[in-house]
């Protein structure tokens, strides 16, 4: 059907089959975001779950927002967080370490050391910072869209992103200095 996402969403309240239109419009966007954060092998499952969860929650969609993109990515961010917490519980390790390990594993074979450093550093961010950062970097959402997706103020989005950027910089610089120091130690 044609029309804005809000109109499609509203139509799906009475005719659930209409919701498939939302899937066709946004599956590639949601898939790309989830794969960037979760990767293989779980990413496709999480991406599929986003639409099931969105379908179940469709009556709560605020139709004053014509585009459902931010709303869907907010659900995706939440499910990504749940995914990591579940994995952490299964492995009996903190969620942060689970994410750090996954990121490191995921990239180990395709990036050089300096690049894996930054992904490992991302795993060390606070979950709330990481959630906002991933929506900003991996989903290209604006501050306003992130605020809508997560139900927080735009100012909070801005400050958490700034903090995440600074932390990433500090963590990666520390890591590089540490590595360089380690190489120099035997000669000292």
């Amino acid at each position: 059907m044609d029309g804005t996402d809000a109109e499609v969403m509203e139509a799906s309240w009475d005719d659930p089959s209409v919701f498939a239109e939302v899937f066709h419009r946004y599956y590639p966007t949601v898939f790309a975001y989830v794969m960037r954060t979760v990767g293989h092998p779980d990413g496709p499952d999480v991406a599929a779950e986003v639409f099931v969860e969105a379908f179940r929650s469709r009556r709560r969609y605020d139709t004053s927002y014509p585009s459902a993109r931010g709303w869907l990515l907010g659900i995706a961010a939440h499910l990504v967080g749940t995914h990591y917490r579940r994995k952490a519980r299964l492995r009996r390790v903190p969620a942060d370490e689970a994410m750090e390990g996954d990121f490191a594993d995921e990239v180990a074979e395709r990036v050089d050391a300096s690049r894996s450093t930054i992904l490992t550093a991302m795993g060390r961010l606070r979950p709330a910072e990481r959630e906002i950062l991933s929506l900003f970097v991996f989903a290209d959402l604006s501050y306003r869209e992130i605020a809508q997706a997560l139900g927080i103020a735009q100012g909070t989005v801005r400050s958490r992103l700034n903090r995440a950027r600074t932390k990433l910089r500090n963590l990666t610089e520390f890591s590089n200095e540490h590595r360089e120091g380690g190489r120099e130690a035997p000669d000292a």
Binding site: Y27, A48, F51, R60, A95, G151, A153
Partner: protein
């Protein structure tokens, strides 16, 4: 590392594209969900026999579902809805209004009611209305006639003027400023695992003999009731509740969920809380399962219903 870390991340992330198989699997799952969606209109066409069969099938299904899965699924939906809710900010000059109808147990100290031997206890119903804007709070409390378990206690209660002491039949309004609510001013984490850790830390300093999970359940309930949490914190609180040994007692089609948790106070006690589909605490009870201190078994020693907090512009009770 001199590049902007965000740019490095963007470049590393690449541009994942779903395969046809990924898309088909995802669409199949969604179509299954659409096909099994509750459709109230269609139920009108079900014959009574078919409806009875459906009830049996659902009942068997519920029995087969393990408790953690049912609780996690129910609370997961609520946590998502809570997180996506619009933040409620109180404009200058406005107040957050809540109304609570509650009944709680009164147990006077031994000897307070002269002539009564053994334990004395009664339930005291009241309506509590609260206007709050952070710096200022107005409380209006109306107290109703108590409910007694023993006629002798009732007679002694009125004979000793305890009704005046409890303010029975009175409505009292108090205005308070400079209130500091420790729970509301604490900067609680909004990640569920971090929040659980913070709640564990907080309760471990309470000195209570109750198991930690029970204390965390009570603290999470207090936070939902007393602090009007942000969407992110409310969502995290719901997720923490899902990690506790709670049982799903009821779930209605509108998404309202009732949870129970049982513990030995002593006596053995069962608490329930009811959350609406957005994670607001709308009802709670505490029930003793064994007779104690003059209170019969299975008495609700605390029972409350709460309205969902609303923004109002005056200190008058809103029209129902």
């Amino acid at each position: 590392m001199h590049e902007d870390p965000f740019e490095v991340l963007r470049r590393l992330a690449g541009d994942p594209v779903p395969t046809d198989a990924d898309r088909l699997r995802a669409l199949t799952r969604l179509e299954h969900a659409i096909g099994t969606d509750r459709a109230p209109v269609r139920f009108r066409w079900l014959t009574p026999v078919a409806a009875a069969v459906a009830v049996v099938v659902i009942a068997v299904g519920v029995m087969l579902v393990t408790r953690p899965t049912a609780v996690e699924a129910a609370l997961g939906e609520i946590a998502t809805a809570a997180r996506l809710a619009t933040p409620q900010e109180i404009p200058t000059g406005s107040f957050l209004y809540t109304r609570t109808e509650e009944t709680s147990l009164g147990i006077p100290e031994q000897g307070d009611l002269i002539g009564i031997e053994g334990p004395v206890a009664y339930l005291l119903p009241m309506t509590r209305q609260e206007w709050d804007n952070g710096d200022f709070q107005q409380l209006t409390i109306t107290t109703y006639a108590p409910i007694f378990f023993d006629p002798a206690v009732e007679a002694a209660y009125y004979a000793h003027g305890w009704d005046r002491r409890d303010g029975v039949g009175e409505t009292v309004t108090r205005q308070l400023t400079g209130i500091t609510n420790d729970l509301a001013t604490t900067n609680w984490p909004t990640n569920p695992d971090d929040l659980k850790e913070a709640l564990d830390d907080y309760t471990s300093q309470s000195g209570s003999d109750l198991p930690l999970d029970i204390q965390v359940f009570h603290l999470a309930t207090d936070l939902l009731r007393a602090t009007n949490p942000t969407p992110a914190l409310r969502s995290a609180l719901i997720e923490v509740l899902a990690q506790l040994p709670v049982t799903l007692a009821n779930q209605t089609p509108d998404g309202t969920v009732t949870l129970t948790i049982t513990y030995n106070q002593p006596p053995a006690t069962r608490d329930t809380i009811t959350l609406d589909d957005q994670g607001h605490l709308i009802a709670e009870t505490s029930t003793i399962l064994q007779a104690a201190d003059g209170v019969p078994a299975n008495t609700n020693t605390y029972q409350a219903t709460h309205t969902i907090p609303t923004i109002v512009d005056t200190l008058d009770p809103p029209t129902p």
